[in-house]
């Protein structure tokens, strides 16, 4: 297969061509998902382990279904019910799972870098399904794919990501990927949640939401984590909603064809107005649908022919 890369931990070391390959193959996978029998034998004989050390229903379900639809065997590991609560280390857990002859790990963890450690400890192909604040590469790929389906291109698109940038792996991965693919990315949020150090390449950061959304092709709202309130990052939820909510009025500043994305789960009427989320501009459900095609494509590129 064409990526030449063993892991998808973030986009470091990935070429534009390899990433394009994943986006292209997602078209094929999307077609598979539209068939009456949504299953292909591409990963027959391959065992994929979803090692989720942090709660996630959507991402885990999406990955597991993607793997099963390609005929892989899936070993599901959820940390809550595991020996981790008995004090076992990440390394021991991974080595134990590895002993079941797993071919690839799909990892979700609360600590940035944990997916890198799993790749190191297991020696197996590892896909990062979200680590701490660091990276969520398949989310970024499905977001890029959603833009590609909408506009037929990524290059030159103006993408504005709004919300808690500081704690967001989705923002980091999107900024990294979209910059590589030639989009102009603006990260926007209150100053307490916006590291100015993330400005790099075509990626800009600003606290001025009105300016950030002007002429945007894509506006992505991020989930505001309620627990951030305890960290003193924000005066109040209502203050946040007043200043940084993505809603219809704000979208008037964007291009007429602008679409709205959200990685979910949403806090309706907090970071995004419920009516906008349900409007014709919203591609939030399409993101979920495309997510499965993207994850099938990633598994295909990383695992087929690698055994």
């Amino acid at each position: 297969m064409g990526t030449g890369v063993k892991h998808l931990l973030d986009f470091q070391g990935w070429s534009v061509e390899a990433l394009q390959g994943i986006l292209d193959t997602a078209d094929v996978m999307k077609e598979v998902l539209e068939r009456p029998v949504k299953k292909v034998p591409a990963l027959q004989g391959i065992t994929v382990c979803t090692a989720f050390f942090e709660n996630s229903t959507r991402t885990r379900t999406s990955f597991e279904l993607a793997a099963r639809r390609m005929s892989a065997d899936v070993l599901t590991f959820a940390a809550g019910a595991s020996s981790l609560s008995k004090g076992e280390s990440l390394r021991d857990t991974i080595e134990t799972l590895n002993a079941y002859k797993v071919d690839a790990f799909i990892v979700r963890h609360h600590a940035s870098g944990a997916a890198h450690q799993v790749a190191k400890f297991s020696g197996k192909s590892t896909i990062n399904a979200g680590d701490g604040r660091r990276a969520h590469p398949t989310q970024a790929l499905l977001d890029a794919y959603t833009m590609l389906k909408e506009f037929g291109r990524i290059e030159g698109l103006k993408v504005t990501i709004v919300g808690d940038i500081l704690h967001s792996r989705v923002a980091r991965s999107n900024a990294e990927l979209l910059d590589l693919l030639g989009a102009d990315v603006t990260l926007c949020g209150p100053a307490t949640l916006l590291p100015k150090e993330l400005a790099k390449g075509r990626v800009k950061v600003t606290t001025d939401l009105q300016a950030a959304v002007k002429d945007a092709d894509v506006v992505m709202s991020l989930r505001l984590q309620q627990e951030r309130m305890n960290g003193g990052f924000l005066p109040s939820m209502s203050e946040y909603a007043l200043t940084y909510q993505v809603n219809e009025k704000l979208l008037e500043r964007a291009k007429d064809h602008a679409i709205v994305l959200h990685p979910g789960p949403m806090n309706r009427d907090l970071e995004i107005s419920g009516s906008l989320a349900d409007s014709a501009r919203s591609r939030i459900i399409a993101q979920v649908e495309y997510g499965q095609a993207i994850r099938m494509s990633v598994l295909y590129h990383l695992l087929v022919g690698k055994k």
Binding site: S89, L90, R91, D92, H109, H110, A111, S112, G113, A114, H116, Q117, F121, D131, G132, R133, R134, A135, L166, H167, R169, R172, P195, E197, L198, G231
Partner: protein, 417 residues
């Protein structure tokens, strides 16, 4: 009487002989016949190094390190004297613990142990420990190292009280409310990696407060492991203003930066964190201009399993007591940034002056704490061969010069390589 022959004094190429009798230096190049002879094979001789900041983990965390492994590691690193930190389990805030540590260490025959004790009970920063009784038991310094003395008034009273006993207080100067849950330097790298950052200002702000307390009280204050150029500048200004402040810098802050965290390896997780290249350069400038009084390792051993945890959970600390001198010699002296004499001063006399101890020499009558250093041959860092229980190192595999080949403590062999 012991003769160590074929050794060179720092800065000289002449091969000489040093004579030692009853734990003291007897003299140089004597015509007397020794009962024992050690061939130094051209090594450079210096007073044994002094460590003001080592975590030996006993009592309570012997799985990480104990007195035997830690003091053997210190001797292998060329150290004759080690000041241990009190953040053990239980905390060293009881005179009986101080006495028992000293008693045990004396029997071991490795480096000499000089325990520090907690400034406050349980290192909680609330009530002063029994400082006088702790001193009587043998404690040489008071510190809540590992904790950050959030209550300025408790620190003030502690410094005043310790000053009355003739001892100093050392501090881990970091504002915990600014540090928050930071696991690495706050900056470009932490934001890119999505790891919680600890801003340089957390150190500078606290150093500024503590320098003011030193000016207020006139009591001696030692600031541990400075990691930022900004905090160092505040110390520089404080010294100019007459504050009785001293400070130390650690080898890892001079040789590593936050870029190392891109590996996501918790081996590089240390408190205070690895900072930027600019900080490392400013710290080096502080060594050169005398703002930095001494080098200390902050030797912080942990188990391998603990260091293999994720970056949020893994403990802070780098074990470094066995490589500190070769590391500094190779990085600073071999590269021409610092003279050998200055480096030795930072590892010996500088430390003694901080503690108001007699400055070590190799002159007749001095205590025979001696180290021989092989400055000519490189050897790779091999953590598996460490005497420390922590058999991992950020410098594993790196070829270094300046390895200790012999350490004598009071004339007795504590380490022979």
């Amino acid at each position: 009487m012991l003769e160590i022959k074929n050794i060179k004094r720092a800065g000289s190429d002449t091969l000489e002989s040093l004579f030692i009798e009853e734990g003291k230096i007897k003299g140089w190049n004597l015509s007397e016949t020794a009962t024992d002879t050690i061939d130094g094979k051209g090594a450079t001789v210096a007073p044994a190094l002094i460590e003001l900041h080592a975590h030996l983990r006993e009592p309570g965390q012997e799985q990480k390190e104990d007195l035997a492994s830690g003091l053997a590691a210190a001797a292998a690193g060329g150290y004759g004297t080690v000041v241990s930190m009190p953040n053990t389990s239980p905390v060293v805030d009881d005179p009986a613990i101080v006495a028992s540590l000293i008693q045990k260490a004396e029997k071991l025959g490795f480096a000499r142990l000089k325990p520090s004790a907690a400034l406050t009970r349980g290192q909680k920063g609330e009530t002063l420990a029994d400082l006088s009784a702790l001193k009587d038991a043998g404690a040489v310094m008071f510190t809540d190292d590992g904790r950050t003395n959030e209550n300025a008034n408790v620190l003030r009273r502690g410094m005043e009280y310790a000053s009355g006993l003739g001892l100093l207080v050392s501090v881990h100067a970091e504002d915990a409310t600014l540090r928050q849950d930071g696991v690495m330097n706050e900056g470009v790298v932490s934001h890119e990696l999505g790891l919680p950052g600890n801003p340089a200002a957390a150190e500078a702000a606290r150093v500024a407060r503590d320098v003011e307390i030193a000016l207020l009280t006139g009591a001696r204050l030692h600031i541990q492991h400075l990691s930022t150029g900004r905090a160092l500048e505040i110390v520089r200004q404080g010294k100019k203003a007459g504050a009785p402040v001293t400070c130390e810098v650690c080898p890892h802050h001079l040789t590593l930066t936050d870029e190392a965290l891109r590996s996501f390896d918790a081996l590089y997780k240390v408190a205070p964190p690895l900072r930027t290249q600019t900080d490392a350069e400013l710290l080096l400038a502080g060594l050169l201009d005398g703002t930095v009084d001494c080098l200390a390792t902050d030797h912080a051993p942990h188990t391998q399993a603990e260091k293999e945890k994720d970056l949020l959970e893994a403990p802070f600390g780098i074990p470094s007591i066995e490589v500190a001198f070769p590391l500094m010699y190779t990085h600073l002296v071999k590269t021409g940034k610092l003279s050998l004499e200055k480096l030795l001063d930072l590892f010996t006399a500088g430390c003694a002056k901080v503690m108001a101890w007699e400055v070590p020499t190799l002159e007749e009558g001095a205590v025979a704490d001696v180290v021989l250093l092989d400055l000519d041959n490189a050897k790779a860092v091999d953590p598996k061969a460490f005497k420390s229980k922590a058999k991992f190192s950020p410098w594993a595999g790196e070829e270094l010069y300046g390895w200790p080949v012999l350490t004598l403590v009071a004339g007795k062999v504590a380490f022979q390589g």
